[in-house]
Amino acid sequence: MSASLEQLREARARGDVRAMIAAIPYARFLGLDLELADDELRGVLRYSDALIGDPTLPALHGGTIGALLENTALLQIAWDIDLVALPKTISFTIAYLRSGKPRDVYARATITRQGRRVANVQVEAWQEERARPIATAAGQFLIQSAPRR
């Protein structure tokens, strides 16, 4: 079992969402965060000027919003399911609905189906209003869950 998975499982057992994301170097690089809001896991992309993809608008780089969506989906799986290996993304599809403004972005993932080997996840990202998402995504992930006792 990988050290990262062990770290993730311990953080999950303690309910420590910050520790779950602290283990991921790329999350620190990009400014990805995780918080619990109303008992829901919520991904956050903290704004910085390095995230800009189009300064004329200005708008966030599509890749950074994609990274937030995928990261939130992965951590939702790790939060909901007792895993024996880190999930692997099979395929991930992002629909960009509105341009991302230069401010924080939030994301919420829902596991729509959990099979024995595959988890289907839907994610949406928003800024001012949750009802006005700036992007949505659907992903399929390979999972290995711990046997049920």
Partner: protein, 159 residues
């Protein structure tokens, strides 16, 4: 493709614009290797801060997403008869095999269909062997009706 002459500048000036106009491309250290009509080849040198799983050193999927979004956007831009702003509508990525820790990632994009409103692009991410890609992807981009403000000012294509 139209026969109109297009001002695309040198690779060095394209790269400068690519970084100036797109700060996140600079933050990632993306390098343009080649561009032609509707095609782009971009390189992403490995950095430890791109890692998703510190135990294995494998890149986070988000890095591949940013690389392909940038490469596909540049491919679409290189297909345009005149410079207009483009916005990603949709991006799909299939992860075919894990990225090799420590290795540079290359991406190639090809705009295979351009209409008045939409550019359709597909491509791959790979290390050394294009026949053994680590990811494949496809994207659609919406084209703005008007030329870019900055492009109008300089008369140059700015990816």
């Amino acid at each position: 493709m139209s026969d109109e002459p297009r001002v695309v500048g040198t690779l060095a000036s394209q790269l400068q614009a690519f970084h100036k106009i797109i700060p996140h491309n600079r933050a990632l250290g993306l390098e343009i290797l080649t561009t032609t009509d509707g095609r782009a080849h971009v390189r992403l040198p490995y950095r430890p801060e791109f890692v998703g799983d510190p135990h294995t050193g494998v890149l986070h999927g988000g890095v591949i997403t940013s690389l392909l979004d940038a490469t596909f956007g540049l491919s679409a831009f290189m297909a345009l008869p005149r410079p207009v702003s483009i916005a990603t509508l949709d991006l799909r990525i299939d992860y075919l095999r894990p990225a090799t820790p420590g290795a540079t990632v290359h991406a190639r994009g090809e705009c295979y269909r351009l209409t008045r409103s939409v550019a359709f692009v597909r491509g791959i991410a790979y290390h050394d062997d294009e026949d053994s890609p680590i990811a494949s992807g496809a994207a659609t981009f919406m084209l703005a009706n008007r030329p870019r403000r900055d492009a109008r000012a300089t008369g140059e294509v700015q990816p």
